[in-house]
């Protein structure tokens, strides 16, 4: 069955340092994978998506993610964190029934 696992429930970085949010997936076929960001009391905004084209995907706000089939991973990175990046991040895929499957979420804190 298709699923995603976010390996960290909380990540804390200093402003200006790199960000790494980890996501592993489980799928019997080439999956569609997405990263979303949610600021407090807001809806979810799409950061980037992988749909079997280029394995390195660039998104909004300087984020990118690399699809690694050998590692079944789709980690989200950003070279330099900004205070405004503090939010909840979700790794998402679809199951075979067409339903969105969410990871547990990673809360990113950015210290000044």
């Amino acid at each position: 069955a298709q699923s995603v696992t976010q390996l960290d429930s909380h990540v804390s970085v200093s402003e200006g340092t790199p960000v790494l949010l980890r996501c592993n997936y489980s799928s019997s076929y080439s999956p569609s994978l997405f990263w979303y960001v949610q600021h407090p009391n807001k809806g979810l905004q799409l950061l980037l998506k992988y749909t079997s084209a280029a394995t390195l995907v660039k998104g909004i706000n300087g984020f990118e993610a690399e699809f690694k089939k050998s590692e079944t991973s789709f980690h989200l990175t950003k070279p330099s964190a900004h205070m405004s990046d503090a939010a909840e991040y979700f790794c998402v895929t679809y199951n075979q029934g067409g339903k969105l499957i969410f990871g547990q979420g990673t809360e990113l804190s950015v210290k000044p």
Binding site: S32, F34, G43, L46, S52, G98, K99, F102
Partner: protein, 115 residues
């Protein structure tokens, strides 16, 4: 372009009262529609999923129901709210293109507090 509207943004309701949250999508046809609930500090729980009018699957047993009276309208309801129904409710839509699942688009959410 496609847009999704979800209302109201906030709602405070007494225990035992009814609930109706509405979600509408513009600019697309035959979307897949979703209702999620997010409890404080928790991830998203899929409540209902619909691939077409009158086609709704319920993911968890609960005090809520959903209806899709029109192609782009999705309604979340309850006859009698419980305290445990409090949470942040999100509506979303997605589409299939070329056999691949596309990204989902989310409404701004409804903060429901049952008192």
């Amino acid at each position: 372009s496609q847009t999704i509207h979800q209302w109201p943004a906030t709602l405070v309701q007494p225990v035992g009262s009814p609930l109706s949250l509405e979600c509408t999508v513009e600019g697309t046809s035959n979307p897949n529609l979703y209702w999620y609930r997010q409890a404080a500090g928790r991830g998203l729980q899929l409540l209902f999923y619909s691939v077409g009018i009158g086609q709704i699957s319920s993911e968890v047993p609960q005090n809520l129901s959903a209806s899709r009276p029109q192609d782009r309208q999705f309604i979340l309801s309850s006859k009698k709210l419980l305290l445990s129904d409090s949470g942040f409710y999100l509506c979303a839509w997605s589409a299939k293109r070329g056999g691949r699942d596309t990204e989902a688009f989310f409404g701004q959410g409804t903060r429901l507090t049952v008192v």
